[in-house]
Amino acid sequence: MTKQTYAWTEEILSPLGETAVIIDCGDHLSEAVQRRVMSVCAFLEKSSLPAMIEWVPSYTSVTVFYDPFISPYPELCRILLQQLNQMKESVQDKPRTVTIPVCYGGEWGPDLNYVASEHGLTPEDVIAIHTSGDYLVHMIGFAPGFPYLGGLSELIATPRRATPRLRVEAGTVGIGGKQTGIYPVDTPGGWQCIGQTPLRLFRPEENVPSLLVAGDRVRFKQITMQDYLALKRKEGER
């Protein structure tokens, strides 16, 4: 059992316009803050705030979107704080680990060699480091199904490209500074592209339209071009 050590006071709440309130769960990125963010989400999922419409986790906060005509801001804050103070910070259920197969390098990862040479490594080293990491999905955002992953090794952290590509293909695995992530849809993008997964991250036909959700653990697994093509075909048939 984790003891409650965080003070849920008025100071942690701030409005985002007239229809949302930001709940600050800490001012820096850490496992403890992430756990708090996930606890708040799990709590909101089960709680019954009549005015609440939805909520969005981020690195250090949870934003609650609500209908101000049901509960105006001061009332909403009062109820939220009351409930948060009764909340027991829960140890998460065992988080789900999702393995993402990736075909690294070549036309699937045109920046792999650049990332390697920047750090005096071989492309194989970069792949070995990237696939040995244990990543945490902090949040999904920016684009549908795009995971913000924490846990990239400093050994391969690489700044974004000076000029973003006009089109990065869906499934591309990239490195942007200390973050790594996967582009779910074709979009312009400035991250260093090191590989591609055949899995679809954005699944509009499904109840939960995102392969990954905040709190998931992610591991990357290297696959061959043949495996990539075969898996991609299978995903296409779904």
Binding site: L16, G17, I53, E54, P72, Y73, P144
Partner: protein, 343 residues
């Protein structure tokens, strides 16, 4: 019942009030840009506020009506005509079978809304009929209208059917071949946001506001900003006085919303609009009050806007007043329509 697209216009998309419940998966709410005009348009044809309308940008489409329909046009004045007869805005209008609704020059504003009794009946995707051009979801195959598209129309509400019936009766009694028929009343300018003045956009402070230099904040409120041509349904880029932080800041990304004013490193603010991303990393200088978002939605690239600071309480109060006003308008429309036949 359906409507045939003869010409699509510059950017005509099916929109409703947007998707809710999917922000945590990175899916923005989307929906109509001018929430006031779209909601008024729906009221005028007896639709629920959730019905899908056509959002038309700058250059309107050309549409053929296969059956008689009760429609309304609100928002921008795209100079609509049926058989060379001007179609009045902010009123219910009966368009008769076989008519072609055409649009010309955009005289005022930027986005026109066409509501049709029964609503545009494209399939719902994730609880909404809104077109999301970026992911290709919703609307007509996730894209803007094209030549030859057929828009099917839902069943008009009982109320709307009554209105249509009475209007048809009037046409018959007058023994003239009206292509369109509209009552004499309309939503007056008093009842609508001020689209045509110099936009003064009311904003409130955000939790990042104090991170900006005093000088920058002073300029932000004192000077005018031009809406850049690189503006779209996702965001409005502004050009004007550079806004700077007191100290460089490595801010962690967090949820943003409709009306959030972000400042990227080049110091030129961006206002997030309907198709905004769900998470943003740039510092947020201010948040636009909801009541003024329809005015922004109608402001064209090149428009000079200025910002006025109000408190969060005031913004909430104004939003509440607008909501009450909308509900009054709804009642007024019903009363006017009910009285129409007997006048």
């Amino acid at each position: 019942m359906s409507i045939e697209v003869i010409r699509p216009g510059l950017l005509s998309t099916v929109q409703d009030e947007g998707r809710t419940g999917y922000r945590r998966y990175g899916i923005h709410p989307g929906g109509v840009m001018d929430t006031f005009a779209a909601r008024a348009a729906n009221m005028l044809v007896g639709n629920s506020r959730h019905a899908a309308v056509l959002e038309m940008t700058m250059t309107g489409p050309e549409l053929r009506f296969q059956e008689s329909q009760l429609v309304s046009l609100c928002g921008a004045d795209l100079t609509a005509t049926v058989d060379h007869l001007p179609v009045p805005l902010w009123r219910p209008v009966l368009v008769r079978a076989g008519s072609v609704l055409k649009f010309g020059q955009c005289r005022h504003g930027l986005r026109g809304y066409l509501a049709i009794a029964g609503g545009i009946a494209v399939p719902e995707v994730m609880g909404s009929r809104s077109t999301d051009l970026k992911t290709g979801l919703g609307g007509v195959e996730g894209r803007a209208l094209r030549v030859g598209d057929l828009l099917s129309i839902g069943e008009p509400s009982g109320e709307a059917q009554g209105w249509m019936h009475r209007m048809e009766q009037q046409v018959k009694e007058s023994e003239r071949d009206h292509r369109i028929l509209a009552p004499a009343w309309l939503l007056s300018e008093r009842e609508r946001p001020d689209y045509y003045g110099q936009p003064v956009i009311r904003v409130m402070e955000s939790k990042d506001s104090s991170l900006f230099s005093q000088e920058s904040l002073g300029q932000f409120y004192a000077e005018k900003y031009v809406i850049s041509s690189q503006s779209d349904r996702m965001g409005y880029r502004l050009q004007g006085s550079r806004v700077e932080l007191d100290q460089p800041l490595d801010r962690l990304s967090e949820a943003v919303t409709y009306g959030t004013v972000q400042v990227p490193p080049d110091g030129q603010p961006i206002i997030l609009m309907a198709d905004h991303q769900t998470i943003g990393g740039y510092p947020v200088i201010a948040q636009v009050a909801r009541v003024d978002m329809p005015i922004l939605a109608q402001a064209r690239p090149g428009t000079r806007i200025s910002f006025k600071k109000i408190t969060h309480d005031q913004a909430g109060q104004l939003y509440m007043e607008q909501e009450i006003n909308m509900q009054l308008i709804d009642k007024l429309i019903r009363r006017r329509m009910a009285g129409m036949g007997s006048a």
